[in-house]
Structure formats: C-alpha cells, structure tokens
C-alpha cells in the first residue's frame, strides 16, 4: 500500500520536474527576490504596475 503511494508520488514529482523543465517553469527563485514561479501559483501578468 505504502509502496504504491510512494511510487505514485515519485512519478508525480518526476512528471512535474520534466514538465517544468520542458516549459521553462521555475519551482522557486533561489535569489533574494524569491518568488514561486509556477504559472498556476503565480500567473505573472497583472497588466502593469
């Protein structure tokens, strides 16, 4: 049971990594201006300041 859950979660993580790599998404910003870069968390375009 736990094995199956672990494997499913692992596949989800790998899939997320591959998808992010392909589409150029950033999980997180490592600089001092850190901001989550996942498009569904932060959609970026606000129409100006």
């Amino acid at each position: 049971m736990f094995k199956a859950i672990y494997m499913i979660l692992a596949i989800v993580v790998i899939a997320a990594y591959a998808t992010a790599s392909w589409f150029g998404w950033e999980f997180a910003n490592a600089g001092s201006n850190s901001r989550l870069g996942m498009p569904f968390i932060y959609n970026g375009f606000h129409g100006g300041k």
């Binding site: 736990f2 094995k3 672990y6 494997m7 692992a10 596949i11 993580v13 790998i14 997320a16 990594y17 591959a18 992010a20 790599s21 392909w22 589409f23 150029g24 998404w25 950033e26 999980f27 997180a28 910003n29 490592a30 600089g31 001092s32 201006n33 901001r35 870069g37 996942m38 498009p39 932060y42 970026g44 375009f45 606000h46 129409g47 100006g48 300041k49």
Partner: protein
C-alpha cells in the same frame, strides 16, 4: 556362505539362513538370536520383540541403489544410552553387497563396511566433537557429530554380523557435506568403519509405495494412564518418546516402548510458563508438512545476572520426524535440523565469529548456557528440568543458525523467522500476542524504499540528463547599460527604458542588474513589458554593497550584482522599464541590465531531488535504527549493523 537350514537351538523350530551373508538369524518363534558357526548353530540369547515404530520399512522390502537391487533381510533396534531408539536395516544386494540402512528421526543413512588398511583411527575417548577424521577416505571431510553408546535390544530377520542381545557398543557418527555420512563402530578392534550417505527413500527405490502409506497415516495418539495419579494422558509417538509429563499431576514420566514409569514431580519454574500454543495443535508448516505439537518447554539463559525466557514447541510428523517451533518475545521461528558438516565453523565462538551455511554468512549473536526450566508433553530424549547445553546463535535474517553442544553431542539447527500472521494461519487462530522488540533474526521489511524505491531517483536523473539538451543552451537576449538620471528628491524614483528584445517561449528568464554602488544602495524595479499585449511582469532587484576595515580585518557585505529568475513568458518582443531609487540620488545611476533565457539554475533539479530522496533516506535511517535495536540485545553488539542481505519487502 550359502543357504543353511537348521533347527533353533532354543525351541527347535526350523530356521533358514537365506542370505549368504547372514551370520545371525532371529528365530521367529522364540526370538532367540541364532548364529551360524563352523560347527552348526549357536544360541546367542533372546532379543526383545521389535517395538512397533512408525517406520515405513519392513523386512522383505525390495529396493535398488546405484542400479543394484537389494532386499531388506534383517533389522535391529538399538537403544541409545541416554534413551531413544533407532532402527538399523540390513540390505542384502543382488551382487553380494551388504548395506546398513539406519533410520533415525525420519532420516535414512545407507552405509557400507569400508575396510581400512594401515590406518589407525582415533580412539573413542580421543575423538572430539567437531573434529574431522581424515583417516576415513571421503570426498568431503567427515566431522564427528555424535559419540555414544548403544545396545541391541530387539531384532528380526537375518543379521550380517554376530549380534549379541543387549551387548553395548560405542560408536561415533560422522557427517560431511553433500549428505556424506559414516559411523565408526568401536565394538571391535580395530574399529570398523561404515561409510555412505544420507539418502531419501526415493533414492533407494522405496519412494513410490512408502511415502504414500506414510502420508495416509494419521498422527494419532495412544491414551495411557499415569502411573502416579492414574489420570489419562496421550502419547503421540510412543515408539520415539522417552519422556512425557502428566497433565493431571504434573509428573515427569519415563516412556519405555510405550510403558510409563513415574520419575518425579515437576518443580514450578521461577517464571510462570505461558504456553501460547496448546499441545496437540496441528498445522501445515513452511516445509509443506503437517506437524503436531507433542511437547513444549520453557527455557532460559542468564546473561549478566538477568534471566531471559522463551518457549520451544516440539513438532512431530511421522514421515518428517521432529521440528521445533520457537516462541520468544512473541516472535516465532520454525526450526529444522541441519547437517553439521554443511556448516563451515571456525570453532571460534567469540565476538566477530562468523559461520557459513549454504554460502550464507551468519554472524554470532549469543553464546550462553541454555537451561530447561519446565516441560510439558512428550519428548524424544530424556529431558530433565535444569538440563543445560551450550547454545550459540548466529543470525542472517530471516534465518538463525543455532549450535547446541553437550559433552558428547553437537547439533546444528536452522530457524526461520515466521511473522505472527503466518503462525496464526498455520494454527487457524487469531490475535496471537503481538511481538515486542526486534528478534535476532527478524527481517527488516522496509528495504524496498532504499532499493527498488531508488528507481524513481534513477529515472529522475536520467530525465534530467535528457532534458539538458532538450531545453537548449543558455542565451543572452539583452545586455544594456541604462543611465538613471539624478533624482529631484531622495524618494523620487527615476525610470528609463531598454531597447526592445525578443523572448522565446518555454524558457525561463533571468534578469540581472548591476550598479557601481560602494557603501551605498540602489533599489531597482524592473518591469518586463510585452510590447504587443502591454502585459507587465515586475521584479524587484535591490543592490547594495558595503565594505570596510574593522579591527584590522576587512569586510564586505552584499554585492554590485543581483538577479531574479522568472518562469517562461509568452514569446514576443519585450522592453524593460528600469525604475530605481538610490542612496546618492543627487547623482545619476548607471545600471547594467541583462536578460538571459534557458538558464540552468538547478533549483527545479534540487527541489525534485530532495523530494525524491526523502523516503529513501528515511528508509535507510529506519534500517539503521532497526539493526541497532536488533543488536542491542546481543552479547556481541559490536558486530552490529549491516545485516547483509537480510531484507525482505513485505510492507
């Protein structure tokens, strides 16, 4: 010698020596052992009637070994000095050979007389348990397994040597690898050697008929009366049992061919025994045979002043012989006998000792005196309360190799760990007490998470390597110095625009800004403006750099460069709006901005890698903790950790 017809010198009944090799025949009428001599026949005395054992063999049975036919022409029953009986069958082969087929505890050993010339064998007293006897030719070294004295108590048929009833003989049994077996008979000088091997009934052409009969045989019980209290008690293996306890008066009784004699009352043990499995319970065990619990005992070891107790149940199956079910701290083990010659033992029983069995290394776990505290049911040896043996345990989970030594016998056995659920299934019960602690040979069941569970990590690494070229190489799309004019006041931001540049889809965007600040700061807001849609992505890039000398040591803080990275943006033409406030607002501020795409930052890689490694690392920690718990109960805990290939994946 040839066939001889004569009259029994005791009862005058007609007797016939059919086999040319026969020396003695047992008169079927008066049970006299009659030997043929040069002058006729000689009465050697009477033998007892053959005790009805559950042997599948009988005189007259025909088999074949190495393509040579034989017939079982005689049988003798021997009694061990410490109790217990075994059968020796005499096989007369069609080519004139005579074989000895010994049967003990469900095992069979076929041996032949082996003449030795110019060889001096060790004396009986000089033989040491565990020593090899290279004087006996054999493919594998033969190791002394048992020394003892036995007497012939019963016989039937024709015997190929001069069997004298009740005559005692000293013997030594030796065993070697690949079922090699030999016996040294010290009743004659020089001693006779019989060598051969342990065989199955199938290997000697008796496998077809006999196992079927034996399987059909029910493990029944004979009800007898206790000679002390008159209460009823049952004997499951009356032909093999040497001791039985009375459940009515708690007496220990001697069993002699099914006849009971009162020995003594059992003394209450220091720790009240709790036998979880009842005498008489039956079940099919991992070797596929159905066993019945016929006896149980509480045993103990005392280590550093503390006494530990456990329980052992004697299992019996007529065709398989005896096995043990060991119950300790509510952990269970199924224990089978092991050929001592198959164990590579350095005879060192201290810290770090390792023995090998079937290519597997077992680490020493315990070496202590084991004591019998209490017994219940029937046993195939003369068990006594207080009986002690040197017990050495070696572990290679899920197996435990145990050596029990007395002055004249050494026995190896192999225990296999059984989860509670398996024991419950065997006996058809539920809710057995849950085990506590870690058993010496309990397998760790979580190895999946750091073995096969690492497969996702490997897959992840492979994908990461593949994605590197697929994402493309990093490229700079804009690098420009922008001059922010002097501000009218301290908090009045100044802005400037970059030249237009192209952003491609599916590539992250790194915006770097650098300014020649020194012990000052500039706070830069960068707006990434899509020229077509006028949508804006904003990032803040504060730059500050301070340095100096304090107590002779130079120091610095911050830097003149700063960056921020964004997820991919829609492809198109973009312009940067750079807006800033800075400490020296009275002076213009040159800011160099750079926009790059497809930058390999490694953040995604690290995040995913950490997520994927959490479970394997926890698994390794759990394994370490498990092994530490296992070995803290060992006398040799320094040999801990590792655990070898002991893991299973049952979770």
């Amino acid at each position: 010698m040839t066939t001889l017809k004569a009259q029994c010198p005791s009862c005058a009944a007609p007797i016939e020596f059919k086999a040319g090799s026969s020396i003695v025949i047992i008169c079927p009428f008066c049970r006299s052992a009659v030997a043929r001599t040069d002058r006729g026949v000689e009465d050697l005395g009477k033998v007892a009637e053959i005790m009805d054992s559950e042997s599948p063999l009988r005189v007259g049975l025909k088999g074949a070994w190495n393509n040579v036919n034989f017939e079982l022409t005689g049988r003798a029953q021997l009694k061990h000095e410490l109790g217990g009986y075994w059968d020796e069958w005499y096989a007369t082969f069609s080519n004139g050979w005579v074989g000895w087929l010994a049967e003990a505890q469900g095992r069979f050993y076929l041996t032949f007389f082996q003449p030795l010339k110019d060889v001096t064998l060790p004396t009986f007293d000089g033989l040491q348990l565990g020593q090899t006897v290279p004087e006996i030719p054999s493919k594998t070294p033969l190791m002394v397994q048992e020394k003892g004295t036995a007497s012939y108590v019963a016989a039937e048929g024709e015997i190929p040597y001069k069997l004298v009833p009740n005559e005692k003989e000293s013997y030594a049994d030796l065993a070697g690898k690949d079922n090699a077996f030999a016996t040294i008979d010290y009743s004659s000088q020089p001693p006779w050697v019989f060598s051969g091997s342990q065989v199955t009934l199938a290997e000697i052409g008796l496998g077809d008929a006999k196992p079927a009969q034996r399987e059909a045989r029910h493990v029944g019980s004979d009800v007898v009366r206790c000679p002390n209290c008159g209460g009823p008690l049952s004997l499951t293996a009356p032909d093999k049992s040497e001791r039985v306890t009375c459940p009515n008066c708690d007496s220990l009784l001697d069993v002699n061919q099914g006849n009971l004699t009162y020995l003594k009352a059992l003394t209450p043990p220091p720790s009240e025994p709790v036998f979880v499995a009842p005498i008489g319970a039956e079940g099919v065990f991992p070797d596929g045979a159905k066993y019945k619990i016929i006896g149980a005992m509480q045993r103990s070891v005392t280590i550093e002043g503390e006494t530990y107790y456990w329980y052992e149940y004697l299992l019996y199956n007529p065709s398989q012989g005896f096995r043990w079910l060991v119950h300790s701290d509510n952990h269970w083990n199924f224990v089978e006998p092991v050929n001592p010659a198959d164990v590579e033992n350095s005879q060192f029983y201290g810290k770090g000792a390792v023995v090998k069995y079937k290519g597997k290394a077992f680490k020493i776990f315990q070496n202590a005196i084991a004591r019998v505290e209490y017994v219940k049911g029937e046993f195939y040896w003369r068990v006594e309360q207080g009986e002690q043996v040197q017990a050495v345990d070696y572990v290679a989970p899920p197996e435990m190799l145990s050596l029990e030594m007395t002055s004249n016998e050494m026995n190896w056995s192999l225990g296999t760990y059984m989860p509670n659920e398996q024991v419950e299934k065997i006996f058809g019960v539920t809710a057995l007490p849950r085990p506590w602690g870690i058993a010496p040979n309990q397998p760790f069941t979580g190895s999946f998470y750091y073995t096969w569970g690492l497969l996702p990590v490997l897959a992840f690494l492979a994908i990461a390597i593949v994605m590197l070229p697929l994402r493309g190489i990093p490229r700079t799309t804009l690098s420009q110095q922008i001059q922010l004019p002097a501000a009218p006041s301290e908090n009045a931001p100044q802005a400037a625009f970059s030249q237009p540049f192209q952003i491609r889809a599916n590539g992250n965007v790194k915006i770097s800004a650098s300014a020649p600040v020194n012990n000052s700061w500039v706070d830069v807001d960068v707006d990434l403006i899509n020229d077509q849609s006028q949508e804006v992505e904003s990032v803040n890039v504060p730059i500050e750099y301070y340095s100096g000398v304090e107590d002779g040591d130079s120091w610095s803080e911050g830097g003149q460069d700063q960056d921020a990275t964004l997820s991919s943006l829609p492809a198109g033409q973009y312009t940067l709006k750079v807006e800033g406030t800075w400490q020296n607002w009275q002076q213009p501020m040159p800011v160099t901005v750079k926009v790059e795409q497809n930058v390999n930052r490694g953040v995604n890689f690290c995040c995913a890698g950490i997520l994927l490694l959490i479970v394997p690392i926890l698994g390794i920690f759990r394994k370490w903790s498990f092994e530490a718990s296992r070995w803290k109960d060992s006398m040799f805990s320094g040999g801990s950790s590792g655990g070898g290939s002991d893991d299973s994946d049952d979770e």
